[in-house]
Symmetry: C2
Subunit: 634 residues, 2 copies
């Protein structure tokens, strides 16, 4: 086994400099029709070849006259113009000898036999657009390195320009590799991964101003891959291989680049993104991009974006950054520069950044991210409440129009978010799943607009209100009633281990999967276990914690656990068996002051709509008798 | 003659409401391949159909083991794993029975005959990506009304989605009309206008999210136009006719819409943009858009943009506005809401708005505009120095990186601007042509970074410095030496009227065209006329003022004047004869404090470069002996 375990971990900035310096500037130019030039970048300044208008033109509908024939006209002494002394003109008509001015039609009175009466004079060239009024031949219309917009197209054509020299879009060959990956739509066997990265990279290449060429999947085979790379290098300006860029037994990218050309970087000190290959084959840049989607994205942003933009002549813009307050502590390793995806939300005029899942394989953390927090290699992380700089991935306006919900997870949060966005696409709902208690704490710190909670008070047997009184007693909080939902024990389809009640969790042959501390479901579980007199130490997997109902359901469906506690909709979604253990109240705690905000009103509109209730009916497992009622708590 | 002189002048907002209400929502949906969905807008929320990963997968390269086989391992008591107790796995490989955890390869030591030594335990499911870690089947990947980006494409494919329902792009038929307009590239006769509007409108339709279909030019003929409209209505969702929307003798748009369907608006109270036609034929929206390019643009922004975006399901964003200080007085009519194009520049932390040419035919005012100042119908205008709200057309970042030059005009300003942008595409030069004196006043008011000037002091016979001392004596101003340039008398090619010197300007048979007051060329002209003892009252056209050399040259080339004073390069560009009357110094006055700004350094780099000097050499008429020298003035 030829296993090269150790990658270098070069500084990303150093690697980028090496890569760009060696790549140089290769700004190829092509000539395109102006009418097809939208969004292209000029390689040269463009100068008008003719004037617009290229003749003296009437500026209005009226009559062309000799100005000197009109000098005597006044209300008292009108002038009568005879046939031959004037000519009817429409806007844009040429004004030629002997005429040198235009009188607007509204100021002209027909007095019979072609005679026209006027009562005020015009001076020479009045109401005439002189030649070149808009564009003068030889003047610059647009500069070089300028992205052509619709108005430019109009001006270029008016200036007599038919074709324009623009930078050729660099072509980027993208080779997906891996014996385990399959094309979307093919039947998935265990171990198969749907090939999706290359399509994300295609889209990014387009956004950077390049032209992607995606090749068929190449299995992990040195010779096949060599042939594919050779071909792609011949057909493109830049080649991207995804993945095989690490140092595993079937990771051939680095050695192929070395064998076929020049390997300059293998491994950078970033997380995610570490296993990068950068090199040149036949003097063309070749990149080995890691297989985890987030790693691939990070590596592409660091290396492909500046190179493609440079070669495409695209204007380099500063990255948009904002300052935000970090909502929870973030520890980062000194080994790497880390790119942490964050959700942003504006609550009480504060921009709050909440880190998302940091795994390199979590595509959804990128889909949901509003920004990136770059933690330098020299930094061990940040404390909660610290101000940090966030690189924006979305418009700040969209972020400001987002309801920030932090708390317990339920599938209905997706539904509500979708309905809000559909009702008014200016607004969004961002839902972070940290459990009910952590949601209340986020409200307390002013980091969220609302906290979805389902917290059972053991003494009173009631839900939510007691917790708000206890923990947020000094704030003016109301409860918007949400849904009643059925919690239950989830087991594999047909319940192969014959689980009947909460007591079975302590059985030797049972693997349990738990929810995290502070989650309403966890509190319910612990309450039921305590009532049943079960020592949690005896439960296999009690310490294995998931943060959502769906993650628990997925663990059971995959066989990594036999049983867990969760809501009916999750069990149904993953096709599991479900044994009800009780009905609970899933409500929204919210500072009363927010009730006046448009987006909160929209939220209430949505949850009280028939459409929403019908939808839940269809899903099953929910009760909506009180949904939307507002209860004062404190 | 069937001339309907009077348009209504409906309020634009009222007209828009009528138009949109009657148009309604016509959100057609189509299903596209996810791999072709970049930039499309989802018509429904998209939920994952499978989990990713859809099996338990190794999270690293290493060995799959049973966790319980490793519990005893420590540095003191290593555990030896025999063949069958482990399996080599790469990242992403499935972890199946009996294995339930992974040890990373770096922590494994081969000790011969397939035996592996480990020195620390792993717990169950450690280093394993559980099924659904990234995406859980049935979870929402993206909501409805969401524009699909590259990362979304990756996530959708990973979630098992192959096709996605998106809003169909509304098709917009664009019919250019007019007997006088010709296709770009055709030979221009007097009276011909190059058809450019439809291509600008095409680009705007694309930017709004629609699909343009541009038809061939239709001459001003009722029946031909009727056929063209009938056809376009059949083939498109929306139809745009450009122009014939006014009330001239050949403006058929309004009457055609009336005859073929329903005319709801003819004329709105805006400037530019007044002659608008809005109606419906076979229940499809039909717009008559005016012929002047800026009017067409304004009308399209008001009416086409909201309709197309609505039907395309595009997110409606708030317009980006900034507050700026108006650099000069602006008078506006109470008859109309006016859309004034402005240049913006950041000088001394103030954003300064300078109105551009307000003519509806001046495409270049749109090309050069950074923003739009909307003057309400009820407002008579604004004073210089007043704060106004500007709707941004460009990125604020680009505006902030722009050198604001206000003063005298010379062709070299275009050249310098282009060279700056080319050297570093983050920076721009914006050059407003108001004459030398007005440039100095703009510097005084802190509205410009620099003023290009060429002001002859009659007493000393020197250029520029005396004026700076006189008018900006209390400021710390330096002069960056620009170019020596030859001023002269410009006449038509071959000088048909035999003009020899400045004295000829007073001849009866001569039409002169002048520069505006405060322009260096005007001061020079007046100085020479005074020396020659000529009464300016006797000069035909003395009061006809142009603001640039090129405009003067164009007036002569077009025959609307016989003679003017200007620089050699302008005469050469318009192929005029040129009689030198003196060499002058065209320099840049600039507050000393700005010399440290990066963009001013870039400016000096450019004007002192060999490339720049070579370019001027080639153009002729310039001397560059002192170019770039910095002289303290005050």
């Amino acid at each position: 086994m030829d296993r090269n375990i150790y990658l270098n971990t070069m500084d990303a900035d150093e690697a980028l400099k090496l890569f760009l310096d060696r790549s140089g500037f290769r700004n190829e130019i092509e000539e395109v029709l102006v009418i097809q030039s939208l969004g292209r970048v000029t390689a040269d300044a463009v100068f008008a070849v003719c004037s617009s208008p290229n003749f003296n033109a009437s500026a209005m509908d009226g009559i062309a006259v000799r100005a000197k024939d009109t000098y005597e006209a006044s209300e008292v002494n009108p002038v009568i113009l005879k046939k031959g002394q004037y000519k009817h003109v429409d806007t844009g008509d040429p004004i030629t000898e002997p005429y040198d001015a235009v009188i607007m039609i509204e100021d002209v009175v027909e007095v019979g036999e072609g005679d026209l009466k006027i009562i005020s004079p015009v001076f020479p060239w009045q109401n005439v657009r002189p030649i070149g009024e808009d564009i003068v031949a030889n003047e610059m219309i647009i500069p070089s390195n300028h992205m052509i917009n619709p108005v430019d197209i109009g001006a270029l054509l008016a200036g007599g320009i038919i074709t324009v020299k623009v930078y050729k879009k660099p072509t980027v060959g993208i080779i997906p590799t891996g014996t385990e990956i399959v094309e979307p739509g093919e039947k998935l066997e265990i171990g198969d991964i749907i090939e999706s990265n290359s399509r994300m990279l295609e889209g990014l290449v387009v956004e950077y101003g390049g032209e992607p060429n995606r090749y068929a999947i190449v299995p992990d085979d040195y010779e096949l891959l060599k042939t594919a790379i050779k071909n792609a290098v011949k057909e493109n300006d830049i080649v991207v291989i995804n993945a095989g860029s690490s140092a595993g037994s079937e990771d051939y990218t680095a050695s192929l680049v070395k064998d076929m050309g020049e390997l300059i970087v293998h491994g950078i000190a970033t997380k995610p993104g570490k296993p990068v290959v950068l090199g040149f084959i036949e003097n063309k840049p070749v990149m080995g991009v890691p297989g985890y989607p987030v790693s691939a994205w990070v590596v592409f942003e660091i290396f492909a974006k500046p190179l493609i933009k440079r070669w495409a002549g695209m204007p380099v813009k500063q990255e948009k950054k904002v300052e935000a307050v970090l909502s929870k502590r973030l520890v980062s390793s000194l080994k790497n520069k880390e790119f942490v995806r964050v959700k942003l939300g504006k609550v009480n005029d504060n921009l709050i950044a909440t880190p998302l899942d940091r795994g390199a394989g979590i595509t959804m953390s990128l889909v949901r991210a509003d920004g990136i927090l770059e933690v330098p290699q020299s930094c061990e992380g940040y404390e909660a409440g610290q101000k940090v700089n966030i690189k924006l991935l979305k418009d700040l306006e969209d972020i400001q129009n987002t309801i920030v919900s932090i708390g317990s997870h339920d599938l209905i949060m997706d539904i509500i978010g979708n309905m809000i966005h559909r009702k008014n696409s200016a607004f969004n709902l961002s839902s972070s799943h940290v459990g009910s208690m952590a949601g209340l704490m986020a409200l307390k710190r002013g980091e969220a607009h609302m906290a979805p909670i389902h917290l059972l008070d053991e003494k009173t047997g009631t839900y939510n209100i007691e917790y708000i009184k206890r923990y947020l007693g000094n704030m003016d909080i109301v409860l918007i009633k949400g849904v009643k939902r059925i919690q239950g024990i989830m087991t594999k389809k047909n319940n192969p281990k014959g689980i009947k009640s909460i007591e079975d969790l302590a059985r030797d042959d049972i693997q349990f999967v738990n929810r995290q501390k502070g989650a309403g479901t966890r509190i319910l579980t612990d309450y039921l276990l305590k009532n049943a007199g079960i020592d949690t130490e005896k439960i296999n997997g009690y310490r294995r914690e998931m943060t959502t109902h769906m993650a628990v359901a997925a663990a059971i469906a995959s066989g990594s656990a036999d049983v867990g506690v969760g809501v009916y909709s999750a069990a149904k979604a993953m096709d599991l068996d479900f044994i009800p253990i009780g009905e609970e109240e899933y409500d929204f705690a919210i500072p009363a002051a927010f009730l006046n905000e448009i987006m909160i009103k929209l939220f209430i509109d949505v949850i009280t709509s028939m459409e929403f209730k019908d939808y839940l009916e269809q899903m099953g497992g929910y009760g909506t008798e009180n949904t939307g009622q507002i209860i004062k708590c404190t």
